[in-house]
Subunit: 228 residues, 2 copies
DNA sequence: CAAGTTCAATCAAACGATTGAACAAGTCAA
DNA sequence: TTGACTTGTTCAATCGTTTGATTGAACTTG
């Protein structure tokens, strides 16, 4: 039941751990994909093993059981977020002008849209995450503490600076959630959105259209919000 | 394998069918709640029967099996939407001024927020719906055709009138989706939002705060778009 | 009594977990 | 260099449990 044993002390506690490899990594990737696609209970250990190109017993060996694999998948999601967004959100410089904060918000927004709607992790990670959020509150703790809370605080700081509001106020926090909700919906509701739009999935042109829409809302919300 | 046999011809094809009653209704309500809470595969027929206060065999008797109950739940969702929002979206009068369309959008928005975040159906229906959308595309057809498409078209007409844009344009369709995504997120991500806000669930005050936020975004998006 | 409905009991199939054998790679005495 | 031993990992086979479905008897109602 050994985890990855660190050969020596971690030189940097904020560093991003390396991606899992071998059978262990293959199982985590299979779990991320299948759990997100059909759900945890609907995915059998035999399917997981086959998708990972190994034997069912490997799940118990590496993770102690199916639940252990699920937890490892949650932690892999946290790790990927760290890897993409950087180990820790840099604290905002005190003299950052509102326009710069606005610009950075716009930049982060387009990055998020492209990540979520483009090919790659963006397809499976949100579905997996959402099922975790909808379900067991136990694993939600990991997701919240390691993925959501730090990023949300960072965005709130930017939003507060850009709109001239208190970054810790409920209004700003809600505004950031509403903004994120817009973006997430285009991934979670992809089946509905693309059908209604007459699109065949999200190509570059479609992603650009979504980007434009969300940036327009962002600009409207920021430039109109309570003037300082 | 008999469905509900209509004793005589339906007098009004647009009328809202009555809510299912008896054991059949209890099973549908149990399915809506349990499927939405823990997922379809994770819910056993025995749990369903116990939650409905009946025997497992009733599921096969009334719905032909577990899958039949699932389908009945989807149709019940469609029925509830019809019941709450009216049988069919009234076509927009040609002389409706932009301000009136804007006001009606605001009204529908607050109604939706209160329905989704308040106590009642709003808690279980979206979770169930989302899992259906994430999963089998077969049942998505029912959801899309009977719930989403007509409502979305109605909102697009209002949005187009309020913003002076073509209601059938991609820009308007995306704007409506983004707007809906904001609202939905506060239900789907409730566990995360309430935790970050320091709230203990959605009470009247919390719902009012969310309402204010979403209406602010709506007003900003509409008043900034091409003025009439 | 007859149709509609629910009951306890039972079935085969699929599930997650476990087991001991088998394999690969490294270690060390001779 | 060799051969035995250890450690880490994967394998096919099997365990007891739970699943969805089915069955015939028992109930309710008109």
């Amino acid at each position: 039941m050994s985890d990855a044993p660190p050969p020596d002390a971690d030189p940097d506690p904020g560093a991003v751990p390396p991606a899992p490899t071998g059978t262990r990594g293959a199982l985590i990737r299979a779990g991320l994909r299948l759990f997100g696609k059909t759900g945890f209970a609907a995915t059998s250990t035999r399917e997981l093993a086959e998708a990972a190109g190994t034997n069912v017993a490997s799940i118990a060996y590496h993770f102690g059981g199916k639940d252990g694999l699920r937890r490892a998948c949650v932690e892999e999601v946290a790790r990927r977020f760290q890897a993409v967004l950087g180990p820790d959100p840099a604290p905002l410089p005190d003299d950052l002008p509102a326009a710069a904060a606005h610009a950075r918000l716009a930049f982060l927004t387009t990055a998020m849209v492209r990540f979520l709607l483009g090919r790659g992790d963006g397809e499976e990670v949100p579905a997996f995450l959402l099922r975790e959020v909808l379900g067991e509150p136990v694993l939600l703790d990991i997701v919240y503490d390691r993925v959501i809370a730090p990023r949300h605080a960072d965005l709130c700081a930017l939003w507060g600076r850009a709109s001239g509001q208190d970054p810790d106020s409920p209004a700003v926090r809600l505004a950031v959630f509403a903004h994120l909700g817009q973006i997430l919906y285009f991934r979670l509701g992809a089946a509905i959105v693309t059908r209604r739009m007459g699109w065949d999935g999200y190509g570059p042109a479609e992603i650009a259209a979504v980007e434009a829409r969300i940036l327009a809302t962002l600009n409207a919300a920021l430039s109109r919000g309570d003037p300082p």
